[in-house]
Symmetry: C2
Subunit: 272 residues, 2 copies
């Protein structure tokens, strides 16, 4: 099944634009997992089970696994999601960016080794970065466009012939690179005006929107600026605010409550 069809089905049938980011940070794990040899796997699967019906996608961030040599746990977590919650797409947040045969190996990493449904990439090297991924016709790609961090301005806000660099990336994506119909853009929640600018250039493209929750983006402003004409088209990520809602025995329930509150705030803003 195509990545965008999976997303569409979740938006419609589950009425949610929330994505839970799986960023496992041992120092913030619940106390009861302190001595578990499988803490990363147990924690992530616990969060997955507690929030699955509330999300349109899960987004594991590979850096948190790679720093620990926990690729095997990552693989098993994605298998767990596919087996136990079929239909929920998994976005591997990797922000890779390379070309040619190297890029083919990165695509194999994401889609064959880890069996992700979608991956995040950096656009700095142009269309060559995307091409090897497009052989996997059903898989999705979110390209970095306008990131939520302060120094994102240094390149992304530069004027390039009457538009800003991030708008050029959005336009190239919408008008040239999107050969499979499975491309999307990463646009931070912290800049609603720029979210709206991307939406104008790319009216039908899914937007992956980090920066709500722990990063402080305002949900109402982001949703109003970024939703498509159907009130969908967004994958709004929250990680830490949900994952680490409690360190106590109630960590699963606390995560669920935080996820539910975020989903509801998003839906209120959509008028859904």
């Amino acid at each position: 099944m195509k990545f965008t069809e999976m997303l569409e089905a979740r938006w419609r049938n589950q009425n949610t634009l929330l994505c839970v980011g799986l960023d496992p940070n041992r120092s913030r794990f619940p106390e009861e997992l302190a001595d578990s040899p499988n803490a990363i796997y147990d924690f992530c699967c616990g969060i997955v089970d507690a929030t699955a019906d509330l999300v349109c996608a899960f987004k594991p961030q590979i850096a948190y696994f790679a720093s620990e040599g926990a690729e095997d746990a990552l693989k098993r977590i994605i298998e767990y999601i596919h087996a136990n919650h079929p239909g929920i797409p998994v976005i591997l947040d990797a922000k890779r960016g390379d070309i040619g045969s190297t890029c083919e190996h990165y695509a194999r990493e994401a889609f064959e080794r880890f069996k992700a449904d979608c991956v995040t990439l950096s656009p700095y090297m142009g269309e060559d970065t995307i091409t090897p991924y497009l052989k996997y016709e059903e898989k999705g790609i979110f390209l970095l466009c306008r990131t939520s961090n302060k120094s994102g301005d240094e390149l992304q806000m530069l004027d390039v012939g009457g538009e800003r660099l991030f708008e050029r990336v959005a336009r190239l994506t919408a008008e040239k690179w999107n050969r499979t119909g499975e491309l999307g853009l990463v646009v931070g929640a912290t800049y609603p005006d720029e979210l709206a600018a991307v939406r104008r250039v790319a009216p039908d493209i899914p937007l992956l929107v980090p920066g709500v929750g722990a990063q402080g983006g305002d949900i109402h402003a982001a949703v109003t600026a970024g939703m498509d004409t159907r009130g969908a088209g967004m994958v709004i990520n929250s990680g830490r605010a949900i994952l680490y809602a409690s360190k106590g025995a109630d960590w699963r329930e606390a995560a669920r409550q935080a996820a539910e509150a975020t989903r509801d705030a998003i839906n209120a803003a959509r008028g859904a």
Copy 2:
């Protein structure tokens, strides 16, 4: 020891700007390794031993390991280089690009898990991408600047207020981001004019230059355009043309000969 000091020592004492890229591709391995369970490790260490005295650095490309789940082999290969050829810096070609705590985890991956001396990064998210790496004061970073692929033009050649985007990246690196003195830039060998443009903006910054050998860049033009005033300042990478010089029993000697010929061609161009 600082990354740049390791490089300087190799440039001076070994009289070489050659970097051998470790891009292990099983389908091109020597026949004698076809049935080896440790083929990636055995192949890379064989290449390392055959070429160590000819290089200023080794550059493993992590995608080739990640697609196979061979992170352990990568770790052991880097350990092997440090143990058996001390003083040769290892550049982990990863082209990561993220921010904040995610970026801290990527830095741990490169410098603590894999014990690389240097890493490649993408500049699209600005200085925030670099900051977490700078805590490792002795480690190097090569930022993507002007890449050798065709569609690199799409963003890198855009005019941004009188200079091109890749020149802006070079200028930000040379004038603002290089707080530890350990930053460098990736500039493809295929565009000597643009190599020269980067060298003008960043006269003292090491350049990592892929695109010679299998990628067809002209060595003489690249060296003339990119060397610093001392006739050094470049890390010129060749991968496939050296690694896969022979599939027969002479693969080590063939790799050595290809490396030696490349080093000599570089030195002839430097007038060294």
